[in-house]
Amino acid sequence: MQASKNILISALCSLAVLSSSHAADVSIHKNKESGLLTWTSKDDGFSIELIQLIPDFIRAIYNKHDFPVDEVERIAGYCLFGTIIQNTSQQQLSYRVSDWRYVDKKGRSYPVKTKTQWLEEWRKAGVTFSWTLLPDSGDFEIGDWQQGFTTVQLDRNEHFDFIYTWTLDGIRHEGKIEDMSCAPASLSTNPSKQ
């Protein structure tokens, strides 16, 4: 019994050492013309920027690459965010989208759909195009950065918290951007009301 307790304490201590959660420095920018929002979070050697994208823009992108109409509409039904991630540290950093999730206002947590999962569905729809989505994972050296779409499958009106992780120097970090929202279905003629 005591041995089990010691193992548990040891395991908990290890977890405390190997993971780190900090309040991220999050800023929100509202585009003056479109009213669309961008969240930027900078923390512990990693920065992430999530940019609201409207469905018509998504349709334009995938129509241009000859996606089937049904597939274009299915993708446009998701909330898509242009995502820019960057290694701002002075050492190697890694990330895995499969570790990321979003949590709705009822506390339900959902994994972020990975590029691999999307590509599998696209292949079944006869699509060979494999770009635009944020790569599933990456080992970023100093100065490396990457961009691509991140998808969230919630009602367009829902708000949610976005939780992302990265590993730096063997320590897993976690950041959270609170109260995010999807882009509206279309742009208002008065962006100040969005």
Binding site: I51, L53, I84, T132, D136, I142, G143, Q146, Q147
Partner: protein, 164 residues
């Protein structure tokens, strides 16, 4: 890629740091066509240092780094060095129209990887990704994301590889 609203936002500043691979990797050979359907093979450039760049017109950082690639190309055009920019899954007409809008018209070689076979061989996960290949055909440096390729530090690396 993220429309005008993203373009308006401050994207990450283009750095100049290229990462040295801990162990050189042989660069996979390929044969691709340029805009005039002329075939180019990587092995034709053995003996030259190669900046191999994977890009697409819809990729904002690709657009941002392209002028620096052209300046680099101009700075080294009489030396044992070549820039090969491999476009992903787009056609010549589209790329031609795109390059006409750039602040500097690229004169380096643009090749077309129409089914992304070459980018898969190089395990490119996102665009832009760039490799620096030595005269023996080994990948020596890598950059994920946009860079200022005519930065003195990058030119110094190229000169070092040329002198090997």
């Amino acid at each position: 890629m993220f429309t005008a609203q993203a373009a308006e936002r401050q994207q990450p500043k283009l750095g100049y740091r290229l990462t040295a691979l801990s162990k050189p990797i042989p660069a996979p050979d390929f044969t691709l066509e340029d805009m005039d359907a002329t075939k180019f093979s990587l092995q034709d450039y053995r003996g030259k240092v190669i900046l191999l760049n994977f890009w697409a017109t819809w990729c904002p950082p690709c657009r941002r780094e392209m002028p620096s690639m052209e300046r680099l190309h101009q700075n080294f055009k009489d030396k044992e060095f070549i820039v090969l920019a491999i476009n992903q899954m787009e056609d010549g007409d589209h790329v031609f129209a795109y390059t006409g809008q750039l602040e500097i018209d690229p004169t380096f070689t643009i090749l077309f990887d129409k089914d992304s076979t070459v980018s898969r061989a190089y395990r490119v996960q996102g665009l832009p990704t760039t490799y620096l290949i030595d005269k023996k055909g080994n990948i020596r440096f890598r950059a994920i994301g946009g860079r200022e390729f005519d930065h003195p530090e990058v030119e110094k690396l190229i000169l070092q590889l040329m002198q090997e």
